[in-house]
């Protein structure tokens, strides 16, 4: 199982690097890296035999959630190819191409 998780970790790092270079947004690159590392953690969890393996996998998953919430939770605007703007985070505010700006009353979740 270990070669597969190592391979996937390398793929995650490479993908995050490409996203960082193309989108020029460290937040999106970090989010994608954390998502892919979550997948690695889940696969590692399948092979967890000892309490140490289990704790390691749990820490990776918990860390991912923590960083995702604390660091990236505020959300920020990104441009869609068609011109519309959307938030890449937890915000609910959406800008329409025509200029109308709507905000939802409820919070996230």
């Amino acid at each position: 199982m270990k070669p597969w998780t190592t391979l996937l970790t390398a793929v995650a790092l490479g993908t995050a690097a490409v996203v960082l270079l193309t989108a020029r947004s460290w937040r999106i690159a970090l989010r994608i890296l954390l998502d892919l590392l979550t997948a690695v953690g889940l696969i590692r969890l399948s092979a967890a035999q000892t309490w140490t393996d289990l704790a390691a996998a749990a820490v990776v998953v918990a860390l991912r959630q923590l960083v995702s919430t604390a660091l990236l939770g505020s959300g920020h605007r990104t441009e869609r190819p068609g011109g519309a703007k959307a938030l890449f985070g937890t915000g609910h505010r959406v800008d329409r191409p025509g200029g109308a700006d709507e905000t939802s009353p409820g919070g996230p979740g």
Binding site: M1, V19, I28, A39, L42, R80, P81, H92
Partner: protein
């Protein structure tokens, strides 16, 4: 004798179901990583990544469902309290992660304005967000 046979059958089933779950997660991660790279190079825009992240989240939740099923099966053949405790810990982590992933998917779907059941992993992301006729605002 029949109890021993049942134990072996369950053990094989556990391995098969767990392997399917791990395979779904692995294939989903590799496939979406490829899409991240292709979309990043093609569009060079940050917004195209959100639908792909949703696809990855769906792959992860599907794989987690399989792995949780394997955990439930495993309770049938776990003879000691030590094994049951470890099983409970794994099931708790997976259930919590499943919950957070689902919440994240729903939240981002609301931002994109796509219905909750419309997300097939094989569907390309950017065209979905662009062609959807629904409002991108949560009105609840």
């Amino acid at each position: 004798m029949s109890e021993e046979l049942l134990g072996r059958v369950v053990e094989v089933l556990v391995v098969v179901v767990e392997a399917v779950g791990a395979a779904v997660i692995f294939v989903g991660a590799v496939w979406t990583a490829g899409r991240f790279v292709v979309s990043g190079l093609r569009y060079r825009s940050a917004a195209v990544f959100t639908p792909i992240r949703l696809s990855l989240g769906r792959f992860l939740t599907l794989g987690l469902e399989f792995q949780l099923a394997a955990d439930i099966l495993r309770t049938a053949v776990s003879p000691s309290f030590g094994q049951l405790g470890r099983l409970a810990a794994i099931a708790t982590i997976r259930t919590a992660l499943n919950y957070f992933l689902r919440r994240e998917i729903e939240r981002e779907q609301r931002q994109l304005g796509t219905p909750a059941d419309a997300g097939h992993p094989a569907r390309p992301g950017p065209s979905r967000s662009g062609s959807s006729g629904r409002s991108g605002v949560d009105r609840r």
